[in-house]
Each structure stands twice: as structure tokens, then as C-alpha cells.
């Protein structure tokens, strides 16, 4: 979706403000919101692409008004409500109003190291040859799906060069919406800064994105 989360090249946000000696978390609630989000993926059964879409799929003003972990919080609240695990009235009441729904599994403390260590690899076996090779010229499609996608707006319609093949990976555009993993070839595609940003060209700038094969066409 063309949402506020897709920020590459957007003007008006001002300078980057690094924080010296920044702590990992800035408040206790951030610690808990972070950990709740990781832990709830086990009983919730959603995948990372569903989580990303639940965070980004909101009005721009809403997205921009929330801090990072507030967006995470809004994301799990939505994912849980969609599955009737916890609903808004329960959060407002501060207590359980309906019995728990059966869940297949929960994340136990003893399982955390193994679960984190395993992570969620997205590479899958190739079943078709790659359409493009290193050095090929490709155009990022000018596409604007209302659903989840990982092709940022600032490269759409621009011609780049295949820089590397990264194997076949779970396709977020399908996986975010429960349509299966639908694995696709993934490429690193480089674009010249002068082409992307004709108003402020830096001839020595190159930008790469990782683009799935369905995002690209031969140029």
C-alpha cells in the first residue's frame, strides 16, 4: 500500500538526530511492548509480513503520530482483535471479558533461546530458473497495490541494474495476506542517485533495493 511508512525521499522530516549513549529501551512499557510482540507471534500464528502490514496499514496521520513501539502495539492489538484473541473492550476494561480461545502453542521462557536462534529463514528451494542475471537492466514496475508490498515508491518506474541474486524467498505480497509463501526470486537492484533524484543529483550516489522478481520487468 502507498502508506506513510514508505518514507524514502520524502521531504520535510528534518535532520537525523542521533542520541548519544542511547539506551536499548526508553521506558519500561517499551520493554514489555517489544517482548509481548515477539511472544504473541507463537500463539497468534501470524507471520512477519502480516505483522508489518498490521503496523503500516493505517491513516498517515495515525502512523506518523505514533512512536515506534506504539506502532508495534497498535499492530499486535489489530492482529489479536482480527483473531478474537483479545478485543478492544477487554483492553479498555483492563481485564479479560471473554474466555481464552484455544491456541496451538505459547512461547515458554525455556524455549526463547532456541526460538530466537532459529529465527525465521525466508529462503526456499528454487523451482524455476531466475528470469534475470547480474548486469541485466530492469525497470521497477509502476505498481500501487492497496495491499502489502516491499517495493518502495521512490524506485517505481525507474531503471536499475541487477547487482546480485539473493535466492528464492517468501513473497511478502502474498504471505502478508494469508495467500501462502509463493516464493519468488529476490534480486539486489542498483539505481543511480542522479536518475532517482533528478532535482538533487549526486553523481556518486547509488541506491540499492532488494526486489522480488514480480516487481521487475526487463528494460
Amino acid at each position: 500500500m502507498d502508506g506513510a511508512h514508505d518514507m524514502g525521499g520524502v521531504a520535510g522530516f528534518g535532520p537525523v538526530r542521533p542520541e548519544p549513549d542511547e539506551p536499548v529501551f526508553h521506558a519500561e512499557w517499551e520493554r514489555r511492548a517489544f517482548a509481548l510482540t515477539l511472544a504473541m507471534a507463537t500463539p497468534g500464528g501470524w507471520n512477519i509480513d502480516m505483522s508489518r502490514f498490521a503496523r503500516e496499514n493505517r491513516p498517515a496521520a495515525d502512523y506518523l503520530a505514533r512512536s515506534y513501539y506504539q506502532i508495534w502495539l497498535a499492530g499486535i492489538e489489530r492482529l489479536m482483535a482480527e483473531r478474537h484473541l483479545v478485543e478492544a473492550d477487554e483492553i479498555a476494561a483492563g481485564k479479560m471479558l471473554r474466555p481464552a480461545r484455544p491456541v496451538a502453542k505459547i512461547l515458554k521462557a525455556a524455549d526463547v533461546p532456541v526460538t530466537l536462534g532459529r529465527g525465521g529463514p525466508t529462503e526456499r528451494a528454487a523451482t524455476t530458473p531466475a528470469l534475470f542475471a547480474v548486469g541485466d537492466r530492469v525497470r521497477a514496475k509502476d505498481m500501487h497495490p492497496p495491499t502489502h508490498t516491499r517495493l518502495p515508491r521512490y524506485v517505481r518506474g525507474h531503471v536499475g541494474r541487477i547487482e546480485a541474486l539473493r535466492g528464492v524467498h517468501v513473497f511478502p505480497d502474498s504471505n502478508a495476506h494469508g495467500h501462502g509463501e509463493n516464493p519468488q526470486w529476490l534480486y539486489t537492484v542498483s539505481f543511480s542517485g542522479a536518475d532517482l533524484w533528478a532535482d538533487a543529483p549526486d553523481p556518486l550516489l547509488e541506491v540499492t533495493v532488494d526486489a522480488f522478481e514480480p516487481y521487475l520487468e526487463r528494460a
Partner: protein, 211 residues
């Protein structure tokens, strides 16, 4: 979304504490009551990323690469198993690619769409990395970003910005500072800053640390 109807006049991450705090507490209570979470698991998750997994891991990888050419070659060829040799692996680092800075080319990593970051080597991302200014500016004006961080790149140095739009996680191998000949891996690791592995900074100079 009743918790966000009021106005924000500054760039938050410190706003709405009490209201958000109450909401998170309510959620934790309900999830515990329903048996969906093991509260002890939350503590382990927090402890992991607050005390165990962080940029010191990445610094060890860089220092190893600076002192062991065979390791450096393995790291640049296929970073995930090379990093695994030091015991770092897992969530948000399933597919890591190391990219090398040279006198001619400076690399910078961003995630314009969210906050993708190589957790096993760098830990959780800092607020600025996840913020709108960085995500907006890095792909268009990375030299301006470097100025925000207080350093200027030679105008003749090429700059390549890697937007982490899929599940590949990028990790910058900075250049070894001059004047460190004969330093041990441990000493070199002290020079490696988090920002130098994102590409928004450089390693410390020898004079900045006490040997």
C-alpha cells in the same frame, strides 16, 4: 484508537507515557489471564536484547575480519555462516550480507519501509534508525545524513545506500583505522562503533581509546 486523539507537538518516543503504559499493562494482564503468554518469557526476551545481543557482537566480527584474511574472505563471500562461527545467529539475521567500505566506496544501510536491521550483530536498532528523518533522507541525501552525524565524506568518494526492503540484512565492514598495526583483535574491537557498521559513522581512531 482512543489513545491517540490528542495533539503531538514534538517528535515523541517520550510522549503518551502514562496512557500507553496503562494500555501495555492491561494487555500483559489479559494475555497472562488468557494463558497466551508466559510472563517469564518476556523477561528472557528483554534480557536477551538489553544485555546479550548488541553491537559488541558486530565489533567482534569486524575485528576478526581485520586480523584474519581468511575469515574476511568468508565473511564477504557468505556472511551468515561466517558470523555464525563467532556464535551469532538467529532472528533478523537469517540472511546477512557484509558489505565492505573501501577508500573509493562508502556504504550505508537503511530500511525506508520499516526498521530492518541485523539483530544478531547489532542488537535492536536505535531510535534514529527507525525515525522518519533517517528513513526519508538516507536514500536521497546520504552525505547530508553523514553531516547530521558530524562527519563529511570526501566529495570524491562514491556512496552506496542499501535499502533493506526484503529479508536480507546488511552489515558494513568499515575500513581498519590507520595506526593500528600489531593491535590484537580485542583492542581493535574497541574501535568499532555501532554507527560504523551501519555506515553513518567511522571506527574510532587509535587516539580515542586507551590501549
Amino acid at each position: 484508537m482512543t489513545d491517540h486523539d490528542h495533539h503531538h507537538d514534538h517528535h515523541h518516543d517520550h510522549s503518551d507515557l502514562s496512557e500507553t503504559e496503562l494500555r501495555v499493562r492491561a494487555l500483559e494482564t489479559i494475555l497472562t489471564e488468557k494463558g497466551y503468554i508466559d510472563p517469564a518469557a518476556l523477561d528472557v526476551l528483554i534480557e536477551t536484547y538489553e544485555s546479550k545481543v548488541g553491537p559488541r557482537n558486530g565489533a567482534r566480527v569486524v575485528a576478526r575480519a581485520w586480523t584474519d584474511p581468511a575469515f574476511r574472505a568468508r565473511l564477504l563471500a557468505d556472511a551468515t555462516p561466517a558470523i555464525g562461527e563467532l556464535g551469532y545467529a538467529g532472528r533478523q539475521g537469517e540472511h546477512i550480507v557484509a558489505i565492505e567500505n573501501t577508500p573509493e566506496l562508502h556504504n550505508m544501510v537503511v530500511c525506508t519501509l520499516c526498521s530492518c536491521y541485523p539483530w544478531p550483530v547489532l542488537g535492536l536498532p536505535p531510535v534514529w534508525y527507525k525515525s522518519a528523518p533517517y528513513r526519508a533522507k538516507a536514500v536521497k541525501d546520504p552525505r547530508g545524513v553523514l553531516q547530521d552525524f558530524g562527519f563529511a565524506l570526501a566529495p570524491t568518494t562514491k556512496i552506496r545506500v542499501w535499502d533493506s526492503t526484503a529479508e536480507i540484512r546488511y552489515f558494513v565492514l568499515p575500513m581498519r583505522p590507520e595506526g593500528t598495526e600489531g593491535w590484537s583483535e580485542d583492542q581493535l574491537a574497541e574501535l568499532v562503533t555501532r554507527d560504523s557498521m551501519i555506515g553513518t559513522g567511522l571506527p574510532k581512531r587509535p587516539a580515542e581509546v586507551t590501549r
